[in-house]
């Protein structure tokens, strides 16, 4: 349909001349991915520990040394009593408190039993839990060493050998970048599509279009297709940056990634289109799009695990396209999932794309008549 061709040509001309849109499309993905990837790190290391050592024996000092040598903890303070120690915790100068009771060494040698106290700042519960976990491990190891007396019977030990698959270095970027890429592409496409359509309405050219023989279908396709194509370009740029800068794994088939993107983008296009039908001005469009996108982003499973969300939230998430994209990117890029593995995700996305676009078209018809 040559008319469609003219419309698409016009869109591309406008996009490339748009001072805001062009940088957004090309630079933003790179910028955000880089920023986000460096910031997005839950790794718990370099924890500050404050030690109150009432015992001051060779054993207690050895224990403290073991903590600081572990690489997880650094010694932040040596408060003389519990109250001062609490203050360290309260002012965030320490994440963990270690209290060694008086006579610890003596109790250990005589009764083969002594207890120390560990207190963690649990406001960030996972961080606190991990800190206590690491501390517990250190204490246990220390204990094993102390008890390893060839003369007496050694207690039974269960050794735990653990390995981490898919990301042996536990590199956070490996985990985040694929998801972030999916997120950024989705976000930008939705935003720009909504704004683009609203802008024509706001400045009056849409009315002009309505008087021409251009069919509504053709007009809308003319608005969506350029962004559809651009989403693939953005994905390519993003993957390249991801590979070069972050060395993200690409276990799965890149062809599958692009194929999925091809079918996924209509979800965001449709969403943008839908939002545009309820906005009279670009400002409103931006606000609405921002509102929905922030919710989708925070619920996408990128920042906090999907399984930890309450049930009703997981139901809501079925309507969150970004959640599907993030899951897909991780499964394919990190674990080399094949089509069979992600087919449920894929078909959900297809259903979503069809529904949201149908809804958008229906609300568009209503609006224009």
């Amino acid at each position: 349909m040559p008319v469609l061709f003219f419309l698409i040509q016009k869109e591309f001309l406008q996009i490339f001349r748009n001072r805001i849109m062009l940088p957004l499309l090309l630079i933003m993905p790179v910028f955000q991915t880089v920023l986000l990837s460096f910031a997005a790190n839950y790794e718990i290391k370099n924890l500050a520990i404050a030690v109150t050592d009432h015992d001051r024996s060779a054993t207690s000092r050895a224990l403290i040394r073991k903590f600081t040598a572990s690489g997880y903890f650094r010694l932040a303070a040596l408060p003389p009593d519990a109250k001062t120690a609490e203050a360290e915790l309260a002012s965030d100068r320490a994440d963990l408190l270690l209290e060694i009771p008086p006579q610890m060494e003596r109790d250990f040698v005589r009764e083969k039993h002594a207890a120390i106290r560990i207190t963690a700042n649990a406001i960030n519960a996972v961080k606190g839990g991990m800190a206590i976990g690491y501390a517990g491990n250190i204490v246990r190891d220390f204990n094993q060493e102390l008890l390893a007396d060839p003369a007496s019977a050694a207690p039974a030990a269960i050794e735990v050998a653990y390995t981490n698959w898919y990301n042996p270095r536990l590199d956070y970027k490996t985990f985040m970048v694929p998801g972030i890429l999916g997120l950024i592409v989705s976000m930008i496409i939705c935003f720009l599509t909504a704004l683009n359509i609203v802008r024509e309405r706001e400045i009056g050219t849409m009315e002009q279009m309505n008087v021409t023989p251009v069919r509504k279908w053709t007009f809308i396709l003319g608005k969506l297709i350029p962004f559809w194509l651009l989403s693939l370009v953005m994905m390519a740029i993003g993957l390249t940056v991801g590979r070069l800068l972050f060395d993200i794994p690409m276990e799965g088939s890149l062809g599958l990634v692009f194929l999925y993107t091809l079918f996924f983008t209509p979800c965001m296009l449709g969403l943008g289109f839908l939002i545009s039908n309820f906005s009279d001005t670009q400002q409103q469009g931006m606000f609405t799009a921002w509102f929905f996108l922030v919710i989708c982003i925070l619920m996408s499973g990128l920042f906090t695990p999907l399984e930890s969300m309450p049930d009703w939230a997981q139901w809501m998430n079925l309507l969150n396209p970004i959640r599907y994209f993030v899951e897909f990117m991780r499964l394919v890029l990190l674990k080399g999932a094949v089509f069979e593995d992600i087919q449920q995700n894929f078909f959900s996305v297809l259903a979503y794309a069809v529904s949201v676009n149908a809804l958008a078209v229906a609300t568009y018809q209503k609006r224009v008549s």
Binding site: I116, A156, D341
Partner: protein, 365 residues
């Protein structure tokens, strides 16, 4: 000037849509995010491969399952089935026993159990392995106690400030901080930009009002409305999410006031630089939202960030307010601990206001 402020108020109250956004959105978002943002580990699906299935391995598996952290998703027949389960995203960890586990432990005094984590999500993997190790260590200690072997050194642990380990304690303050700032800053920047666009700003400038009066006059209504917002959000935090309120209410109110002031000042600043509404919105939404979400410590701990990003984070007001809220509400501390943060926020407010005033005056010339 009082009439000026009143006009602003009426203006706002008449704009239904804006009102909805101003009050409805924060409530909706706080509720949503408070419930949704959760990194607690609970019922993580795991697979167990236990070919022998002896008493010890079964007891250990049950202990893990009973902890609440783990949920036995599948019991595998062969080791080769582990990989597909990971690939499909069905399990987060695999527990692998050797065939002679119980026997080895009883007769040789040592046995090895293998944990395989899905480090696609390194955080969860580390946490799961950590928890599993702790549970196994507990089991080992109980086992040894039964056989009469020495216990040695033990550690009593305590989770301070948040004994129930609720995730909301970590996220809700951050959500509150973020949303309060965004609303205040966005609203202010748009208002001022709109005024400029419509040309009514010029009318004001020609009037006998001094620039500082105009600025303050425009923002005081928003300060007031934002305080209402802040109160609502804090109450939500307490009554819906069970956040404690251990510190001084007066201090919290004062700090909120300060924070709102900073946010508004930020909004004013953005509007003095933006040409029109669109740009103002753009900058406040993307320019504020992203950095606040990422760099303020709201979701990702700041200690883990590269040095550069930590430094940039210090320029964001939210970074300083987060510890204040957590300090007052959860830890129950006062100004003696929070002095630094308060002073920084105060400084930011003054700085932004002065800068905006300068920009404003420059425009007049």
């Amino acid at each position: 000037m009082f009439f000026f402020i009143r006009k602003e108020f009426l203006h706002i109250l008449r704009d239904r849509r804006t009102l909805m956004i101003l009050f409805g959105m924060p409530v909706a978002q706080v509720l949503l995010f408070g419930f949704v943002l959760n990194n607690e580990i609970k019922d993580a699906p795991i697979a167990v491969f236990d070919p022998a299935g002896d008493e010890t391995s079964v007891a250990l598996t049950n202990k893990l399952a009973a902890s609440g952290y783990f949920h036995i998703e599948t019991r595998l027949r062969d080791a080769g089935a582990i990989e597909p389960e990971f690939r499909k995203g069905h399990i987060k960890m695999a527990l692998v026993f050797p065939p002679d586990f119980g026997r080895a432990l009883a007769h040789e005094g040592r046995a090895t159990v293998q944990l395989i984590g899905d480090a696609g999500d390194p955080n969860t993997a580390s946490a799961l392995i950590n928890y599993a190790q702790a549970i196994i260590a507990d089991y080992q200690m109980a086992y040894n106690q039964r056989t009469g072997a020495p216990v040695g050194l033990t550690a009593g642990t305590r989770m301070q400030y948040n004994p129930e380990q609720k995730a909301v304690f970590n996220f809700v303050p951050g959500v509150m901080t973020m949303i309060l700032m965004l609303i205040a800053a966005m609203m202010t920047s748009i208002t001022l930009a709109r005024e400029k666009e419509l040309g009514t700003m010029e009318v004001l400038l020609v009037s006998p009002l001094r620039p500082i009066q105009i600025l303050l006059g425009k923002t005081i209504p928003y300060l007031f409305l934002s305080m209402i917002n802040a109160v609502v959000v804090v109450l939500l935090g307490i009554f819906v999410f069970g956040m404690p309120m251990r510190g001084s209410v007066a201090l919290l109110t004062a700090e909120c006031f300060l924070y709102m002031f900073v946010s508004l000042a930020l909004g004013i600043f953005i509007s003095t630089r933006a040409k029109d509404q669109m740009t103002a919105m753009f900058f406040s939404a993307l320019g504020l939202l992203m950095p606040t979400m990422l760099l303020s410590g709201f979701i990702f701990p700041r200690e883990s960030m590269p040095w550069v990003l930590q430094k940039i984070g210090m320029a964001i007001p939210a970074t300083w307010f987060n510890p204040i809220i957590k300090g007052i509400m959860i830890k129950g501390v006062g100004l003696e601990v929070l002095a630094t943060q308060t002073i920084v926020l105060g400084g930011m407010a003054v700085f932004l206001l002065a800068l905006s005033l300068k920009n404003f005056k420059d425009r007049l010339q």
